[in-house]
């Protein structure tokens, strides 16, 4: 029952593209008399209904966003936690320092590595599972969907506990498979070259479900007539996927790519719980570096500058992705 309501909401929204302005126009044309009388009331009500969110938003989001920017131009340190206003203004010093900070540059590189490898893997596997689930399975679909989605709703702390066993070089799960075929497993998390790929594997495992759900919704929005027409015209499975499914899924693909990229650019939890950035900073990401500078060493001004550099990078990449992927639809 709930599904139909949800689908209706989705359909209603996607049909009338600028849904809100649409209904507004129609409404005011339809009932002029009482409408005009209620305009003042609606204005007041609108703002009253908005107030709680706006207050919380201002205090716990807008203020911190601005404060981080201000802090990034100061030498904000541990003593300023109790006395924030006594932090000294130091201009762009934090920013210039960042770009000669080898550790930070390494964390930038590591984050880029995580994104460049992790995002395509997550998207392709998520899409693959969604297509398979949508095409060939009907009875056990819910069962499969729960299975693939379960890692998404699992606490990272529990995930870390289990994955450390999975990757353990002596009595881990993968080590067991290795010894089965007479090989010795490498120390995945202790090896500079393998630590990051291991974390990427874990992240793909954890986030595949989100992408899958998005794609399933997108696939179900493709009219069956389109598929049937393609089949009648003799399109094979691969052709159907390439010529029908993927082009019609573009909006979903765009959305999934953007949110996955943003999430991966912010990657923090995986290295935090698994490697603490090691070995020799090979899994140190920008967010983890920021966290450590800010909350372990209390170089909060410096950490704020990191946060803003990352934010600007994220905004830049998101805009770029919107441009690149959107233009292709036309």
């Amino acid at each position: 029952m709930s599904t139909t309501t949800g689908a209706a909401a989705v359909a209603a929204e996607s049909e009338g593209a600028p849904g809100s302005s649409n209904s507004l126009g129609a409404g005011s044309r339809r009932a002029k008399g009482p409408k005009r009388r209620s305009m003042g009331v609606q204005n007041a009500a609108g703002w009253l209904f908005s107030t709680p969110f706006l207050v919380l938003f201002t205090v716990f989001m807008a203020f911190p966003i601005v404060a981080t920017l201000l802090m990034s131009f100061t030498d904000f340190g541990i003593r300023n936690v109790t006395d924030p206003l006594s932090a000294n203004f130091i201009g762009f010093e934090n920013y210039t320092k960042l770009f000669s900070d080898e550790k930070f540059l390494k964390s930038l590189f590591n984050t880029a590595y995580f994104v460049v490898v992790g995002v395509p893997l997550t998207i392709v596997l998520g899409l693959g599972v969604a297509v398979l689930l949508n095409n060939g399975i009907d009875r056990a679909r819910t069962f499969f969907r729960i299975g693939f989605y379960a890692p998404v709703v699992t606490s990272i702390v529990a995930v870390a506990v289990v994955w450390r066993f999975v990757l353990d070089p002596t009595d881990g799960l993968i080590a067991g498979l290795f010894s089965e075929v007479g090989l010795t497993a490498p120390d995945f998390l202790g090896n500079e070259k393998l630590a990051m790929p291991s974390l990427i594997a874990m992240a793909v495992w954890r986030n595949l479900g989100t992408v899958m759900v998005l794609f399933i919704a997108g696939l179900q929005a493709i009219p069956t007539e389109v598929r049937e027409a393609a089949k009648l015209d003799g399109a094979g499975t691969w052709q159907e996927l390439r010529l029908i499914t993927v082009p019609l899924l573009r909006p979903t693909l765009l959305y999934a790519t953007i949110i996955t990229t943003i999430g991966y650019l912010n990657v923090f939890e995986e290295p935090f719980v698994m490697t603490q950035g090691g070995p020799s900073d090979s899994t140190l990401t920008v967010s983890l570096d920021m966290y450590r500078e800010g909350f372990n060493f209390f170089h909060m001004g410096y950490a704020s500058a990191m946060a803003y550099v990352l934010f600007v990078v994220i905004m830049g990449i998101t805009v770029l992705q919107l441009r690149l992927l959107k233009d292709n639809t036309k």
Partner: protein
């Protein structure tokens, strides 16, 4: 639909089933491992090659864990925080969602733009000043400090707006003609109509709060306000506590994960649907 098309997917099915089952096995292996290991003896836990099924089932890791960690306390902390976050999101996000979907007021588009913008802002950007702010307000180690930053999420507003747009305007107009106040309309007409959306938002918010890790880690110093994930993580990284207690960690993880997985398995339709709705902007 002719028989030709009906047949085609059926012939593909075996391969699809094999592929998906293999995928599912990989996806769920860590969970199975966790669930089984929690009941293994220490000897079998560190057996090499690994033993999947315990030959002897034991509850000793659970009793050990409950001796060392005040699990009921952390469980209650997690529940209290998640319930407060969920209830406040249900109320505040619905209020703004309603205003954005159904009320015409000056500044509405600006507020909606703000909500969309807020969806894009990474949480990490706010952590440092938020910590300073909470310290100044003496809200570190308090439920308020854990709840307030998450009390009204942009995602919830977006979701509720999407759902409320499908409510026919005529219905609200009729109520207005009868002299109903907006507040009454909101609680008595709109909210009952969006119960499925409220269920969706509840589950997503509750699970998000339950699994939230970074902020509770920053905003708590004293163990009596730890949430479950923070308590478990602290325990796992404390060299004095966790040495040789892999079984306890598995047992603890299972206790953190099990309630969530059960709730999710029962209500997954609401959950995945909400995630998908947000994607269909």
């Amino acid at each position: 639909m002719s028989t030709v098309q009906m047949k085609q997917p059926r012939t593909k099915k075996p391969l699809v089933h094999v592929l998906l089952s293999a995928g599912l096995l990989v996806m769920s292996a860590p969970f199975l491992w966790m669930a089984l290991s929690a009941f293994k003896t220490d000897k079998e836990l560190s057996a090499s090659p690994p033993v999947w099924l315990p030959s002897e089932w034991t509850l000793s890791h659970f009793t050990q864990l409950l001796d060392k960690l005040d699990m009921p306390l952390y469980f209650m902390n997690s529940v209290i925080v998640a319930v407060l976050v969920t209830v406040s999101n249900l109320v505040f996000c619905s209020m703004l969602g309603y205003a954005l979907a159904k009320l015409k007021f000056v500044g509405r588009n600006k507020i909606f733009a703000l909500v969309l913008g807020a969806l894009m802002v990474p949480g990490n950007l706010m952590l440092l000043p938020l910590f300073v702010l909470m310290s100044k307000l003496h809200l570190i180690d308090s439920y308020a400090g854990l709840v307030l930053p998450f009390a009204a999420g942009a995602f919830g507003v977006f979701l509720m707006r999407q759902f409320m747009q499908s409510i026919p305007d005529e219905l609200l107009e009729a109520a207005r003609m009868d002299g109903a106040r907006e507040w009454y309309i909101f609680w008595r007409i709109v909210m009952p109509l969006v119960k499925p959306a409220l269920a969706t938002l509840s589950i997503i918010t509750f699970l998000g709060s339950w699994n939230n890790f970074v902020w509770p880690l920053i905003a708590t110093n004293s163990p009596d306000k730890y949430t479950l994930p923070v308590a478990l993580a602290t325990f796992a990284t404390d060299p004095n506590q966790s040495a040789g207690s892999n079984g306890m960690l598995m047992a603890g993880s299972l206790l953190v994960v099990l309630p969530v997985l059960l709730v999710f398995a029962v209500l997954q339709r609401h959950f995945t649907q909400g995630i998908a709705t947000a994607g269909m902007k």
